[in-house]
Amino acid sequence: MSEYTKPLPELEGHTKDFYGFCKQGELHFQRCSACGTWRHVPRELCAECGSWDWEWARSSGRGEVYTWTVVGRALHPAFQQSCPYAPTVIELEEGVRLLSEVLDVAPEALEIGMPVEVVFEAVTDEITLPKFKRVAAS
């Protein structure tokens, strides 16, 4: 297996926990313990109500395509072999949005509102990235 050369997250602070859950095959986001608001990316306190109390809560992993771009020419050398690929904003059922990718849909077949579900891609021994696949409309 060739070495993985794409950029990786730095496992520090809350980001370490976020990707730690991914490695276990679960998608978690912070949820405010006071008002119940979900949030992403990780923050220190709730911007809605000001509470410092929060927990990692498991997402259903289901959501839909909100928007995307199709990269035809990579602007980072590590992605040159991947073009065309489509960084995609997924809006999850809990209301938070996550930048990811839909693995089993060609870029030209993506549609806003397309229902998707999280899958996990272990790219290195340490790092697992949350990706998505298409599911039938419920």
């Binding site: 730095e10 771009t69 199709v70 035809g72 960084p87 949005r97 990811s100 990718e101 790092i127």
Partner: protein, 386 residues
């Protein structure tokens, strides 16, 4: 009204791609700075305020090279491409508060021959406010650079409002048309049709190659002083009627905004127009930060030149061309003149208001707007008057 601080000097280097400026980034900016100081009829020694562009040099370096022995005010507004216009407001406030008398605003880089514009952010995200977020949550997925970050907004706008590729193309073609009137423009002598635009390769769909700004070497600078001091100087003073800045929410993360199209300018523009006591319809031209075609369209909407969702229609029919209802970027902008980080939008606005925009003068130009856009949608605006 007479109390408004003024732009009293402008300066620019040549703008180029190959073979490059042949100068360091600092030297390039110093060339533009000395030209601006000379244009104002001042000597470098009297500059006592310097506002460098983020990450492109320090006030100390500029002062030491220029001989500014009495530097009192040094500040940088960290809003990326929105910084030069944001600095106009800050410089105006500084001179009116007596913090400095003559403030220099330099900006410039070797965006072609040095580290290319495309590399500066995508491989060094630490330079932007959302750097760690981009590193941990964008880059691993190949979402690495501004055209990609902003094109997701453009696609969503197309979905919600029916904005078309032809409308984005009209912006690119208009900027190119204006560049034909500007001998300094890198794209002078290289015309472009809508078919050329549509045939250009997709870089970050819906952004084609020609939706994206140029990568060039070049610098520009302006000098700001008080209204009182401006009266004694050589150049015709251009008043800074008002200025304002704003940030989207959250500013450091682009995907989780409740209102996907509310950017810094959405906050700044009403404030600036309110302070100036005028509305968008009172403006004779607009210099809009055009890093990409859609950002120009989006800023026209958020600045209030048209309603949100109507930008695509607004740019059609020659409305933003010289001679149209609202001439936009008569120099050709970042798309077809050069990428001078927004500073050449200010120098062009000043030329228009002085009546010195040879061959592309907006007839009777009295009031003009300049905007800036940076990072994940930070915004700035200044309303200028002759």
């Amino acid at each position: 009204m007479s109390q408004a601080a003024c732009i009293v000097g402008i300066g620019e280097t040549d703008f180029c791609r190959k073979p490059g400026s042949g100068m360091s980034q600092l030297a390039l900016q110093l060339r533009a700075a000395t030209a601006a100081i000379q244009d104002a009829g001042l000597t470098p020694r009297v500059i006592d305020g310097i506002m460098p562009f983020p990450n492109l040099g320090r006030a100390e370096q500029f002062a030491a090279n220029l001989g500014c022995e009495n530097l009192r005010f040094a500040a940088t507004i960290h809003t990326g491409g929105a910084a030069p216009v944001a600095s106009l407001q800050a410089a105006a406030t500084a001179v009116n508060a007596g913090m400095a008398t003559h403030v220099l605003l330099p900006a410039g880089w070797n965006g072609y021959s040095g580290a290319r514009v495309r590399q500066t952010v995508s491989q060094d995200v630490a330079s932007i406010p959302g750097g760690a977020i981009a590193r941990d949550y964008y880059l691993p997925f190949g979402f690495t650079a501004p055209p990609q970050w902003y094109s997701v907004m453009a696609r969503r706008h197309m979905y919600e409002f029916g904005t078309t590729p032809e409308q984005l193309g009209t912006i690119a073609v208009t900027m190119r048309k204006h560049a034909q009137l500007n001998p300094k423009a890198v794209m002078h002598g290289r015309s472009m049709t809508l078919d050329d635009y549509l045939a250009s390769p997709m870089l970050a769909d819906p952004y084609r190659f020609f939706d994206c700004c140029l990568e060039t070497d070049g610098a520009a600078a302006v000098v700001v002083t008080s209204a009182e001091r401006a009266r004694d100087l050589a150049a015709k003073p251009i008043q800074i009627m008002s200025g304002a800045c704003g940030q989207p929410y959250p500013a450091d993360e682009i995907t989780n905004r409740k209102d996907f199209f509310r950017t810094g300018l959405s906050i700044a523009a009403p404030e600036a127009f309110g302070k100036a006591g005028i509305g968008p319809s009172d403006v004779d031209f607009a210099m809009i930060y055009d890093c990409f075609t859609f950002e120009l369209l989006q800023q026209l909407e958020e600045a209030g030149f048209c309603k949100r969702g109507e930008g695509g229609h607004f740019v059609e029919g020659g409305r933003i061309e010289l001679g149209g209802e609202l001439p936009v970027n008569t120099h050709g902008g970042l798309l077809s003149e050069a990428h001078v980080l927004g500073m050449s939008h200010i120098t062009e606005a000043v030329r228009q208001l002085r009546g010195e925009a040879e061959g592309r003068q907006v007839e009777g130009a009295e009031i003009g707007v300049v905007t800036g856009w940076g990072d994940f949608g930070d915004g700035s605006i200044a309303i200028l008057r002759r």
